[in-house]
């Protein structure tokens, strides 16, 4: 290789070769491995938290997007049924003959349960015809042979087959609409055949077979339409005429908009988590930089002494930061992915009851780049900050810097803390105004509060220190005085750590307390909703209770039982109104509770119940009422399968646990409007003296297993519903706990490193007469005070954030969430942080306190 070739492989910039720049960093790493590790740890933690949340959230919505994109292909419009009963298949043929229509593809989609030898899975059964291939969607590009394979049986995606233990050639049980059928598994559909749909909870059959299985011969639920180029408006108009107000004419991917609306609270809370996590990570990296600031300054001074100019110094520091930031971010991304698939991951059960969502590990390049660039940027800022004094000619003598002692003492100036406090107060006021004027943007207000937290900490720190200093001045032999002096001496670093602690407590308190409010509200909603019967008979334990089955055979059988006093038909459905997938609940007039009192926001409970029983009235959720501009007594148009219906508002309620909102009507109206007498559940009351357990056993025996119906006592059903609600909220709890634990570990590491760095001075203190136990007490006290100040600050803002979040839940999302202060969550957050931090600091503290006095001497 020629010298020219070697030089090309080793480019130079500002007179320095790349190999030289890297060698400088290698030397630095050899001598300051721990400091670099600490800085990398801070960056990695921040990146892991942020990346994990982003991946976990996009995976849920992303999965549905993959499925819908995968099926709709080139279709741009659709005819969509307003109920699972669907509409006549002939509509698809008529649609195909309309002017401007290139392709019209019929589908039948039914919710079902697949049972195999290893378990059961809720799935969506999709009946297709070979015409689906004409849409050239991702899921069907390689599916031409698959169409033949599913004839006379079912094709299961690999994920479903593996979950239920299904094998090709063996039968599985398919339960739909109260019917259980044995069906052969003809093929397993992998990603090579159906692309990303292979991981979805979807089973594919030929349309005719699916119609037979579900008892819906000649019926379909969807027609995907591909208009000819430029004919979308014409086709849309023609389809509306064909639909005659009984079928929805929508964009082909409309379901994504509906899902996005339902997942909005999840998206908004993700924004908050991302903001808090990013700030925690940055503050940790900043703290690591502060710990190593004197050493970095000496490093820069040495370079100045050796003749490096400013550009070269920037090149060296910048390249080190890029290497450190990239490696730390890569590690963070790895851990973040682990978080996304374990702790953050919760199957989106409450969304899965109404949407074809599943957890698909979708990591987008954009997400990786965001995480990577964030980590590198944090490293660059932290690396370049020590150069700040070099920005003007009035820089300290490099020689003086080299002679300086090891530690940095940075006091927080009163002016700086006042300025930051003013900024913090402005942010709090701004957040308050935003939440008051635009409740839908309350989560953004939460982000503003998160930004306010580190701004307020310096002021709080100085006030607390002043109080502590005053208190300790007269205490004889007080290590509190020593601790206070040390805290004030390293104020900038202490404030950064306090900021991290405060942010973690803020996030934890606000999130946990809000989650507790939500859980309490949802539990109350569930209990009151189910308490109308002692035993519930339904297709499954889907908490929306929308899957229909023939009512009469089961109702008659149950009525004949000696222990049964009454059986009522309950009906329910999901109905898309605009971008909302509303939960329609139809209560039989005989129910003791028509409108849940605990969920009532406006209207009279007794009047509303009477009106709904009489017919033509509905209780609607506030989110829907606000969107439609409804008040009690006003009316609106409900698009039902039998056409549009005018309904009057009897009462306005919370969203009763379903984000898009709910509508409560009576069963008579439902039967007429939905043109079905199918039940979603049977409500059974028992004779006096008969326990729900005994009653449910009787009913189970009477019904047998052929109908595929589930019989539950009200207690069992409540438990199952509450578990579903909590399942959906568990990720919130996991994230807040993770934030606490991570912050505690990181703060403890930083404190431990700071203590360790101080050993020379501790040795000198021992030489002057301090005992090991005195030094240990002062070190622990110092750490404890820093943590407590942070906890207190974070808790104060956290309580306020909780109040704002609660207001957002009730006003903006419509959830039932009675406000409770959350003392338990507060104390728990305090206890976790203090316990972890102090436990971790004790070891380096003890070790540092035992430092031999000779360490303070020169030889």
């Amino acid at each position: 290789m020629s010298g020219h070739d070697v030089r090309r492989l080793d480019p130079s910039l500002f007179g320095m070769r790349l190999s030289g720049v890297l060698r400088i960093y290698r030397v630095r790493l050899r001598h300051h491995a721990i400091q670099e590790l600490l800085a990398a740890l801070g960056i990695a933690i921040g990146v892991a938290l942020v990346f994990g949340v982003l991946v976990a959230n996009t995976s849920i919505v992303g999965s549905a997007r993959q499925l819908i994109d995968g099926v709709t292909g080139s279709a741009r419009l659709q005819l969509a049924a307003r109920s699972p009963e669907g509409f006549a298949e002939s509509i698809a043929n008529q649609a195909g003959r309309l002017r401007g229509v290139a392709k019209a593809v019929p589908l039948l989609r039914q919710d079902a349960t697949i049972e195999g030898k290893d378990g059961s899975e809720s799935i969506q059964l999709v009946g297709v015809t070979p015409s689906l291939l004409s849409l050239h969607s991702v899921a069907t590009r390689s599916f031409s042979s698959g169409i033949r394979l599913i004839s006379g049986g079912v094709g299961l995606p690999e994920s479903v087959a593996s979950a239920v233990g299904a094998k090709v050639g063996k039968d599985v049980t398919v339960k739909i609409d109260g019917r259980a059928s044995r069906v052969a598994v003809n093929t397993e559909l992998g990603s090579a055949t159906i692309g990303p749909v292979a991981e979805s909870p979807v089973a594919v059959q030929l349309l005719s077979y699916a119609q037979k299985l579900s008892g819906k011969r000649g019926r379909i639920t969807q027609v995907l339409i591909e208009p000819r180029p430029g004919k979308d408006a014409l086709v849309s108009s023609e389809l509306r005429k064909l639909a005659k107000g009984r079928i929805d004419v929508l964009p082909a991917k409309q379901e994504l908009a509906v899902l996005a609306q339902a997942a909005q609270p999840l998206d908004q809370s993700t924004t908050l988590f991302v903001a808090i996590s990013a700030m925690v990570g940055f503050l940790l990296a900043l703290n690591a930089m502060l710990i190593t600031l004197p050493e970095r300054r000496r490093n820069i001074a040495e370079m100045v002494m050796q003749g490096f100019d400013r550009r070269q110094i920037l090149l060296v520091l910048g390249s080190q930061a890029v290497v450190l930031g990239t490696i730390a971010s890569a590690v963070g991304i790895g851990f973040g992915y682990l978080l996304a698939t374990t702790i953050y991951f919760q199957p989106p059960v409450y969304l899965a009851t109404a949407f074809p969502v599943y957890f698909h590990r979708s990591v987008h390049v954009g997400t990786v780049l965001i995480a990577l660039s964030g980590g590198v940027l944090a490293a660059l800022i932290c690396a370049v900050l020590p150069m700040y004094p070099l920005r003007t000619s009035a820089r300290p003598s490099a020689d003086a810097v080299l002679r300086d002692s090891g530690e940095s003492g940075q006091r927080v100036s009163v002016a700086a803390s006042k300025g930051l406090a003013a900024t913090g107060v402005a942010l709090v006021l701004g957040a308050t105004l935003l939440a008051e004027l635009l409740p839908s943007l309350t989560v953004l207000a939460g982000v503003m509060l998160a930004l306010a937290v580190p701004c307020l900490m310096p002021g709080l720190f100085l006030v607390a220190l002043a109080a502590l200093a005053k208190a300790s001045r007269r205490m004889p032999g007080s290590m509190l005085a020593v601790a206070t002096i040390e805290l004030r001496a390293t104020a900038t670093r202490s404030v950064a750590l306090i900021g991290v602690t405060a942010l973690a407590v803020y996030g934890s308190v606000a999130i946990e307390a809000t989650r507790h409010d939500l859980t309490t509200g949802l539990d109350a909603a569930v209990t009151e909703y189910l308490d109308t019967a002692q035993v519930w008979v339904s297709q499954n334990d889907n908490f929306l209770t929308v899957d229909g089955f023939p009512a009469e055979p089961a109702r008659r059988q149950i009525s004949r039982l000696a222990d049964v006093s009454s059986v009522r038909v309950y009906q329910g459905a999901l109905l898309d109104v605009g971008d909302r997938r509303l939960w329609v609940r139809a209560r039989p007039p005989g129910d003791a509770t028509i409108v849940q009192g605990s969920q009532l926001i406006s209207g009279s409970l007794s009047t509303a119940s009477a009106e709904i029983r009489s017919g033509g009235w509905a209780a609607v959720s506030n989110v829907f009422a606000n969107e439609q501009g409804l008040t009690v007594g006003s009316s609106f148009t409900l698009p039902t399968p039998s056409g549009s219906r005018r309904v009057r508002v009897a009462a306005i309620t919370t969203n009763v646990g379903w984000t898009p909102g709910a509508i409560t009507i009576n069963t008579s109206d439902y039967e007429r409007w939905w043109q079905t007498s199918a039940a979603s559940a049977l409500e059974v009351n028992l004779k006096p003296g008969v326990s729900p357990a005994a009653g449910s056993r009787e009913i189970r025996r009477a019904l047998g297993s052929a109908g595929g119906l589930t019989v539950e006592t009200v207690g069992q059903r409540e438990h199952s519903f509450e578990a579903t609600a909590r399942e959906g909220l568990r990720s919130l709890g996991n994230i807040s706990a993770l934030l606490l634990v991570t912050a505690s570990l990181a703060v403890a590491s930083a404190l431990g490193a700071a203590i360790w760095q101080r050993r020379d001075r501790l040795a000198a203190m021992k030489t002057q007469g301090f005992e090991s136990i005195q030094l240990l007490r002062s070190l622990l006290m110092e750490s404890l005070l820093a943590v407590i100040i942070g906890c207190f600050g974070g808790a104060c803002v956290g309580i306020y954030g909780h109040a704002l979040a609660n207001r957002w839940l009730t006003l903006s999302t419509g959830f039932p969430a009675p406000f409770a202060l959350g003392e338990v969550q507060l104390l728990l957050a305090f206890a976790v942080i203090v316990a972890i931090t102090m436990a971790m600091v004790a070891l380096p503290g003890w070790s540092a306190a035992k430092v031999p006095p000779s360490m303070g001497l020169q030889e």
């Binding site: 300790s472 001496a489 002057q768 007469g769 005992e771």
Partner: protein, 230 residues
């Protein structure tokens, strides 16, 4: 210090760091101790401070053997009888000169208020009365060392030990510091032992000793004298 011997084991070898050193420092006398690195100066200092027990011999302070002190007595000795000045100052960065000077008294059960009251006159004595609230970062190197000296004296010690106190200072500040140390020793009738490499200390101390290979000799030895002359 009477017949002090201290041995260390290192790499299978026994090294005699201090070999039969006898040295008496009288009240008000400042003694400078020279010697190359590894000659045993720090070992001697540690024994004088009661931080290291000799293998043979004894260290007597006011006629009392400190080599036989218990750990607790040793701590009290350093707290109440000894003032220590370090080359690296070991001040608490970011803490005021007053806090730094007063810190030591907290170990002995004083309140911070009382410690401040005790420290302020000493800071004035060393010429820093106008810099009480300044932090080490706001002080020159010479001023920092004076804060350290004030700290060493705040407990009204009866013995001053200094480990290379001018090692971080330029020659002008070094001379000032050495003069100050001598003045203080003379004023208070306090014996002082100054471990140093600074040539100026040989002129500003009352007596000079050299420690080489564990052996003590009075005055500068030939090599050191030549080095200083050059």
């Amino acid at each position: 210090m009477r017949g002090l011997v201290k041995r260390y084991e290192a790499g299978g070898e026994t090294i005699v760091a201090v070999d039969g050193v006898t040295l008496t420092i009288g009240p008000g006398e400042l003694v400078a101790l020279y010697g190359p690195s590894g000659s045993g100066k720090t070992t001697l200092l540690l024994m004088a401070a009661g931080l290291l027990a000799p293998d043979e011999g004894d260290v007597l302070f006011d006629g009392v053997s400190i080599s036989r002190h218990s750990a607790r007595e040793s701590v009290l000795y350093r707290r109440r009888e000894v003032g220590f000045v370090f080359q690296a100052f070991h001040l608490t960065p970011g803490a005021s000169a007053l806090d730094n000077a007063a810190l030591k008294l907290l170990a002995d059960g004083h309140s911070l208020r009382d410690a401040h009251r005790a420290a302020e006159p000493w800071l004035r004595r060393v010429g820093l009365g106008h810099r009480l609230q300044h932090t080490p970062e706001q002080l020159s190197m010479g001023e920092r060392q004076r804060v350290a000296i004030a700290r060493a004296l705040v407990n009204e010690p009866k013995l001053l030990l200094a480990d290379e106190p001018t090692g971080s200072l330029d020659s002008v500040r070094s001379k000032e510091t050495l003069k100050l140390l001598r003045e203080l020793c003379h004023e208070r009738g306090m014996p002082g032992l100054l471990v140093t490499h600074d040539p100026q200390a040989s002129e500003l101390s009352d007596r000079v000793f050299t420690l080489r290979d564990g052996h003590l000799s009075e005055g500068l030895d030939v090599q050191l004298a030549a080095a200083f002359a050059s």
